[in-house]
């Protein structure tokens, strides 16, 4: 085997060894054909052309792999984000519904037992609408913090908004008196 042919064979052998799985079969195909190439110079050009083709193919395969993985990662990230946003909204909504429920309970009690005069009792309002729901919310936050943190954060968000509202309400109330 001449020096040029030996070089061509070694080049394609190396390419076949290093090429990724899907390109390797093509490198081997070119290597097998090398034996049928008549002139030595032609064999060397055959090997060089083959190497270029495999490099291009491997590059394209690698790019496709990167795009596939990037797209999958993006989809997973979007899914995770959607799930977290859903839990956050559910937590916030749950806390709001709890406060509305407390208001309804207070109203029903006032209507059902007018003698208790709950409508004019600030203590009853404070206890039923603020203390009980906030206590339930904080218990829920503690329970959910490890398992479903976004839901716990949603509850905390609602409690913070509600707390601010109550603080502003009380500040106005005491300023008036």
């Amino acid at each position: 085997m001449s020096l040029l042919r030996g070089l061509a064979t070694r080049l394609l052998c190396g390419v076949a060894r290093l090429a990724p799985e899907r390109s390797r079969v093509w490198a081997l195909a070119m290597l097998r054909e090398l034996e049928f190439v008549e002139s030595d110079w032609e064999a060397l050009w055959w090997a060089l052309g083959g190497t270029t083709a495999i490099l291009k193919h491997s590059g394209r395969e690698w790019m496709a792999w990167c795009f596939r993985h990037a797209r999958r990662w993006e989809e997973q990230a979007m899914e995770q984000m959607g799930k977290k946003a859903g839990l956050l909204a559910a937590g916030a909504l749950g806390a709001v519904l709890l406060v509305i429920g407390a208001f309804c309970l207070l109203y029903l009690t006032a209507v059902s037992f007018p003698g208790l005069d709950i409508e004019h009792s600030e203590g009853a309002h404070f206890f039923v609408v603020l203390v009980i729901p906030v206590a339930i919310c904080l218990a829920a936050v503690l329970w959910l913090w490890r398992k479903k943190r976004p839901a716990a954060l949603g509850i905390l968000l609602s409690v913070a908004v509600f707390g601010t509202h109550v603080a502003v309400h009380f500040a106005n109330h005491f300023n008036r008196h």
Binding site: V25, W26, R32, E33, V37, W45, G49, G50, A53, I54
Partner: protein, 102 residues
């Protein structure tokens, strides 16, 4: 299926169409079309990826390494017939440089 119909691709399709049922070797196609390995093999790879080309390893005799063989799939043969060899000098059609969807 989306294959760029360069003049070289059309030459390869034409080479296969001469005997569409017969298996061909890479070097044989290269000699028939005058294309170098660096041009021919990327075309063969794209055709195989788009299922226009069947590939197989030859059942070689004992002691001889097998060769890789190629022939058109039925879809490939239909595709080749729909895109005739307009690559020949003086017969370059518009499709020769365009993108054809099949």
């Amino acid at each position: 299926m989306n294959l760029r119909l360069s003049p070289q691709t059309l030459m390869v399709l034409d080479a296969f169409l001469e005997e569409s049922a017969a298996w061909k070797y890479g070097y044989e196609i290269s000699r028939g079309t005058g294309l170098k390995s660096g041009t021919l093999y990327p075309i063969l790879m794209r055709m195989a990826e788009r299922r226009l080309l069947d590939t197989a390893w030859e059942n070689a005799e004992l002691g001889k390494p097998p060769r890789h063989m190629y022939r058109l799939t039925p879809e490939g043969a239909q595709f080749a017939r729909e895109n005739p060899a307009s690559w020949r000098p003086g017969r370059l059609g518009n499709a020769a440089y365009g993108e054809v969807k099949g």
